[in-house]
């Protein structure tokens, strides 16, 4: 328990250092833009979207005055970080609201997608990697290798096109978006309470299994698209370490003692092989997050990715750019933490050593 706390402390400190470096770099890059762009970073939270051009301009000028936006970099950086810490992440002219509340409101959709995919690809990746690795050069091994190779080479949007064409247009099994319109009426109605913002869980909490089912129907394709590439990578690495692990002396010793192959694979080698594979997943948490956003856009899910999409509107929006970046660094940290916990569940050495 104490080890766990220490580990958490270490992680928090490294997050703080990372955040410091990232914010310093981010603000240095916006120094290239005119002061008016930076002024939106300091606009109060309750900025009304219904301002006339003159009022808006006057407000920008007041911000430039108040937060010393024509002063050198360190002064501005100081003001910006203090306003960040006070929870004011700036006003986004494109989204027409405070960027932090805009991102937080969109987080549950993203979190739901990411969590379901992680829950799917970690067990499946490890299990299929272990099976393939313990039966090297057999049919199941070849089958896994070919499938995984194709899965890693196939870009997610191609898979999305195929899935949409078959399962949405032809078969009507699944659909893009987050909910059918009749179900979103239920969700938006007064007596449906949003506890987590994740429709699958909220449906159960409200005693409406139809909402959960509908949400799952909409999640199926994006979760599959997202999970498949990561399943393949995780499985391939697990397989490679498994092949090595099967040649270790302790496996020979266990065989000599007459243990069944199943017992050796699932009881002994699994933990040793899965742990390094999960480490690689932890290291690729950023690409997992990029993948989540891509899949969101492909399947029309109104998650955090909509901030990225709206940034293509060619309207200067420093709040969106910086807010999106910082929020992502925190999300990556959370993802790493989740994968960390998964790893410590599998590998007792890490559980004790952390």
């Amino acid at each position: 328990m104490r080890n766990l706390l220490q580990h958490l402390m270490k992680r928090i400190i490294s997050l703080l250092i990372t955040l410091f470096i990232i914010t310093a770099v981010l603000y240095a890059t916006v120094m290239f833009t005119p002061a008016e762009t930076r002024a939106t970073l300091f606009m109060p939270k309750n900025t009304s979207p219904r301002m006339t051009e003159q009022q808006y301009q006057a407000m920008l000028n007041r911000m430039i005055e108040k937060y010393h936006l024509n002063d050198p970099y360190p002064v501005q950086y100081y003001y910006w970080v203090s306003s960040l810490l006070q929870g004011n992440w700036g006003y986004s002219p494109v989204l027409q609201e405070n960027i932090l509340s805009a991102i937080i409101a969109r987080t549950p959709a993203t979190a739901e997608l990411a969590l379901f995919s992680i829950l799917l690809f970690i067990p499946l990746g490890i299990i299929s990697g272990v099976i393939a690795g313990s039966r090297q050069h057999k049919a199941s091994d070849h089958g896994f290798r070919i499938t995984a190779f194709i899965a890693t080479s196939l870009p997610s949007f191609i898979l999305a096109l195929i899935l949409l064409s078959f399962f949405y247009v032809d078969l009507h099994w699944f659909a893009p978006g987050r909910a059918t319109s009749s179900i979103s009426n239920v969700i938006n109605s007064q007596d449906f309470r949003l506890y987590t913002g994740m429709y699958t869980i909220d449906g159960l909490l409200n005693g409406r299994p139809d909402v959960t089912l509908d949400a799952l129907r909409h999640l199926a394709m994006p979760v599959f698209t997202l999970a498949i590439a990561h399943w393949a990578t995780l499985g391939r690495i697990t397989r490679a370490t498994m092949v090595e692990e099967m040649q270790q002396d302790y496996v020979t010793a266990a065989r000599a003692r007459g243990l069944s192959d199943n017992r050796i694979v699932w009881g002994h080698t699994l933990r040793n092989a899965a742990s390094p594979a999960l480490t690689s997943s932890i290291l690729s948490a950023t690409s997992l997050l990029t993948g989540v956003y891509v899949v969101e856009i492909l399947f029309n899910i109104n998650g955090i990715s909509s901030v990225a999409v709206s940034s293509m509107a060619f309207i200067p929006d420093a709040s969106a750019a910086l807010g999106f970046g910082i929020y992502n660094v925190i999300l990556v940290w959370f993802l790493m933490l989740i994968l960390d916990v998964a790893q410590s569940l599998i590998d007792p050495r890490i559980r004790e050593a952390v």
């Binding site: 470096i21 290239f32 870009p155 060619f314 750019a321």
Partner: protein
């Protein structure tokens, strides 16, 4: 000699080399394979009336048919290979260069510089590339907006739709360049050098206290000479392997970004984005196969080719490390 023998010992390496050379040949011979229209040298060549929406099957004019709005699939495929190759090589070479620079200096000088630079590279590692694209895009937009450049989307906001820029008359040369430049490769370079730095860092750290480097230092060889003659050449192999695999990965990512409308200007991505609504229609993949298949196959082969080439280079350059033979 031994190196090349090791490379050619596996058929996968042959295949990788073959696929990559195929794309190189197509990229170089693009003007011969599909001549450009002099007035509009872009990768999308319109055959017939642009207002006609439905994709047309292969004909003599468009050997692989046309996508929506009558852009030739074959033309985009050929010129897309050139664009993909240039993009992939440029991004990986630049990011590998930054990575080598950072990794080597931090390892060679060690101590505070090492921990500082590695901290910075760790911080960049937790910054998703899509956020980098948003950032660079926004910086460019702000600067241009301030100079009076305005932008309007025409023909809806579907992926791949083009926009129109309204450019003030006396725009400086730099801003004109900025307006035409694509922010995506810049973002890719800025946010993908870290793994190279890490690899280089471990390599140089391992080497710098070996006896022969020590001997060189005692003999009075200059820092720069030790770095460029001994440390870099002896620890660059894993970087080259990674770079080869990255060329494919970067292009796949670029195509994805173009497809979802986040920039990138990949002709292959534009091709699929234009045909998107026709592919996602009843039996669309089979009815409009020429919209879907050519670009998909090209993309797959490009990724597979560079991946196999990377594995092959690993066989050739790092014989001691056992390849993870998937």
């Amino acid at each position: 000699m031994r190196t090349s023998l090791r490379f050619f010992s596996r058929w996968q390496n042959w295949l990788g080399l073959l696929l990559v050379s195929m794309f190189v040949v197509v990229a170089i011979a693009a003007p011969l394979l599909s001549p450009n229209v002099p007035e509009d040298p872009s990768a999308q060549k319109a055959i017939g009336r642009v207002t006609r929406l439905e994709p047309q099957p292969p004909s003599t004019e468009a050997p692989l048919g046309t996508t929506a709005s009558q852009y030739s699939v074959y033309h985009a495929l050929v010129w897309g290979s050139r664009s993909a190759l240039v993009f992939g090589l440029m991004v990986t070479i630049f990011s590998a260069f930054i990575g080598i620079l950072v990794g080597t200096t931090s390892a060679y000088f060690g101590g505070f510089i090492n921990s500082l630079l590695m901290r910075i590279s760790d911080a960049f590692l937790s910054f998703p590339i899509i956020a980098g694209v948003v950032l660079v895009q926004q910086i460019v937009t702000s600067i241009l907006y301030d100079a009076g450049v305005a932008f309007m989307r025409v023909g809806g906001t579907f992926p791949g739709s083009k926009g129109v820029f309204f450019i003030p008359e006396n725009l400086s040369a730099f801003l004109t360049w900025l307006q035409q430049a694509d922010p995506v490769p810049v973002a890719f370079i800025l946010f993908s050098w870290m793994p190279y730095a890490r690899l280089m860092n471990t390599g140089v750290l391992r080497l710098k206290n070996t006896e022969y480097v020590e001997a060189a230092r005692v003999a009075g060889v200059k820092n720069s000479r030790i770095i460029f003659r001994h440390l870099i050449p002896n620890s660059i192999a894993p970087v080259i392997v990674m770079a080869a695999k990255d060329v494919g990965g970067m292009v796949l990512l670029q195509t994805t970004f173009t497809f979802i409308g986040l920039g990138g200007n990949s002709p292959w991505g534009e091709l699929l984005a234009l045909g998107r609504d026709w592919i996602i229609s009843a039996g669309g993949i089979f009815t409009y196969w020429w919209v879907f298949m050519p670009a998909t196959v090209a993309l797959l082969l490009f990724g597979i080719g560079w991946n196999l080439l990377g594995d092959g280079l690993n066989d050739a350059l790092n014989p001691r490390t056992q390849t993870l033979k998937y």
